[in-house]
């Protein structure tokens, strides 16, 4: 940072000349035609209704056609990875929620999986089932927000209102289990924070009975809608080869017809025991990515249905009994001196992980979400790094898909990739 005072109480606007680049600095990023003034440079964002947050794109335009697209990220860089190094392993879970704020349970999950892998900590079956169930509910939740905002970008207001209505039901379930609508911090190393309440299963059942009809409703509105097809088919095409080369994952990759889903390829949390299909597209355009997510709604409901059945049959602990990592229940504290010692140790300095490093991946609603965790044997992470799908998609896929297209289709492309800037910048 420069010496310039960034913050001014009132009166004058901040001096903006220092953060705005000159055209000469863009050499190599945009074509030489832009520097001679033949094509136009247009700044899109960071405050733009269709960039899904604070993404800034520098567009080089030849008339209405996008010649090149240079993403500028970091407007939401929060220093989460660095901040986690100063927290104990358990405290740092709260940070992970706020990375990809549409997928909080998934972020908790990948971080807890990394700790569990390094500590070789067991997770009881009941906790695994609840985790799968909530991760799939989170996927539906995230896809609902995607559907609403994507349609809003392309001019369909009513779908947004429907999608947010269904989303409230999921948020009520999250609030029921964790006390928070969005930032749940419900998954903990070795299992869950608390067991699910009695009302949980009826609430989930009510949702999965209600929701499939709503998906049909969205499909009636969009799938065969000529306006929707005009705006999405043949737009933002990426070939399977390019999609792999640019590191695309999740629905962005599967839209091009590549069968790659971490839940199938490298199963975690017992996903190999659930029956579900991986929907694939073939054209790699905006429509196929849209259609895949619509199918994923149904597959997620299918997984949730199986998980509810298993949860009803599975009793037992919701968290590991390994007292080196998991605090004892309060009822033990009055009887056991050992429990008091464990409790004291865990809540004053936290647990320490063995020295080493691990890398785990899960399938987030956006693609492959991975966590690299390095431990030096202490009670705080030595280094945590997240490989987030939004970052890879923003830097690679969006420029690739938008180049050669019309500027009006750019918002469709951004929406179809489903980026979350908190996930991208962290």
């Amino acid at each position: 940072m420069s010496e310039r005072p960034l913050l001014q109480k009132s009166g004058h606007s901040a001096n903006l000349t220092e953060w705005e680049g000159t055209v000469q600095e863009l050499q190599g990023l945009v074509s030489p035609r832009a520097l001679s003034g033949e094509t136009m440079l247009l700044n899109m964002g960071p405050q733009h209704p269709s960039t899904h947050g604070v993404l800034r794109l520098l567009l080089e335009l030849d008339g209405e056609t996008v010649v090149s697209c240079v993403p500028d990220i970091g407007y939401l860089h929060t220093g989460i990875e660095k901040n986690m190094e100063s927290k104990t392993y358990e405290q740092a879970i709260t940070m992970t929620d706020r990375m990809d704020y549409l997928n909080p349970m998934g972020n908790n999950l990948v971080y807890c999986l990394a700790i569990e892998k390094l500590a070789e900590l067991d997770v009881p079956e009941r906790a695994q089932i609840v985790r799968v169930l909530l991760a799939e509910l989170t996927r539906i939740n995230s896809h609902l927000v995607w559907l609403g905002t994507h349609c809003l970008d392309l001019g369909a207001m009513s779908v947004f209102l429907y999608a947010m209505r269904e989303r409230e039901m999921i948020l009520d379930i999250f609030e029921m289990v964790s006390g928070q609508r969005m930032m749940s911090t419900y998954f903990r190393p070795g299992g869950l924070w608390r067991d699910v309440p009695d009302e949980f299963i009826p609430a989930v059942k009510a949702f999965i009975d209600y929701f499939p009809a709503k998906v049909e409703e969205y499909e009636t509105l969009l799938v065969n809608n000529p306006l929707w097809i005009d705006r999405t088919q043949g737009i933002g095409v990426i070939t399977p080869e390019d999609a792999i080369a640019y590191g695309c994952t999740g629905p962005t990759l599967r839209g091009s017809g590549v069968n790659w889903d971490i839940r199938k390829a490298m199963p975690y949390m017992g996903y190999e025991t659930y029956q579900f299909d991986v929907p694939l597209g073939e054209h790699g355009d905006v429509y196929d990515r849209f259609y895949i997510r619509m199918q994923e709604f149904k597959e997620s409901v299918r997984i949730i249905r199986q998980a509810v059945e298993r949860l009803e049959k599975t009793k037992g602990p919701f968290r590991s009994q390994n007292r080196k990592y998991v605090p004892p229940p309060r009822s033990e504290l009055g009887r056991s001196m050992e429990a008091v010692i464990h409790h004291f140790k865990l809540w004053t300095e936290g647990f320490s992980l063995p020295e080493g490093e691990v890398y785990v991946s899960i399938e987030s609603p956006r693609g492959e979400l991975s966590c690299y965790l390095s431990s030096d044997g202490g009670t705080r992470p030595h280094r945590v790094h997240f490989r987030t799908p939004s970052f890879v998609h923003t830097m690679g896929a969006i420029p690739k898909m938008s180049e050669g297209g019309m500027i009006a289709d750019l918002v469709g492309v951004i929406g179809s990739v489903d980026i979350v800037l908190g996930d991208c910048d962290r």
Partner: protein, 160 residues
């Protein structure tokens, strides 16, 4: 506000100019469509079907700062974003109001580090702070109602 219904069927309302202006300002306050992070999702929920912000005449979110009266700072403000935020605020026409939504915008929240501005009031003057991480839609609506109460007490003499 006294009513003297003597002239015709319509009647006459007598009030002060101040009260009429302030009433007008509260009933069609247009917020800026400007989301930063997690709180923006809850701000969307507030606008959407269940919580329905249009009950307060505020459903029209304008994407341009030139057409908005209210900036809801929804999310964490980074050092990179702060000048942009200030520029957006300067572009808004008077009278303009700011609601700082959520802990991050109000005081930095759980992020006390190199990247996050510790409270958006270091950059722009804030009228109402809404606590929560993220605040529930009800809390944001309460913040908006609080702002409306504040606007209703404005004095013409203080304009200048």
């Amino acid at each position: 506000m006294g009513v003297t219904g003597k002239l015709g069927n319509l009647g006459v309302v007598t009030t002060t100019l101040e009260a009429a202006i302030n009433w007008g300002r509260t009933k069609s306050m247009w917020p800026m469509l400007f989301g930063l992070a997690c709180c923006a999702i809850e701000m969307m929920s507030t606008q959407a079907s269940v919580y329905d912000l249009s009950r307060f005449g505020m459903e029209l979110m304008r994407a341009s700062p030139r057409q908005s009266d209210l900036m809801i700072v929804a999310g964490r403000v980074t050092r990179k974003m702060a000048p942009v935020l200030r520029q957006l605020y300067d572009q808004m026409p008077d009278p303009k109001y700011v609601i700082s939504m959520g802990d991050c915008a109000s005081c930095g929240g759980i992020f006390n580090n190199y990247a996050i501005v510790q409270g958006v009031d270091e950059v722009v003057p804030v009228d109402v702070y809404v606590a929560g991480c993220p605040p529930r839609p009800e809390q944001l609506i309460h913040g908006i109602m609080t702002l409306h109460e504040k606007v209703k007490t404005q004095r013409i003499a203080d304009w200048a």
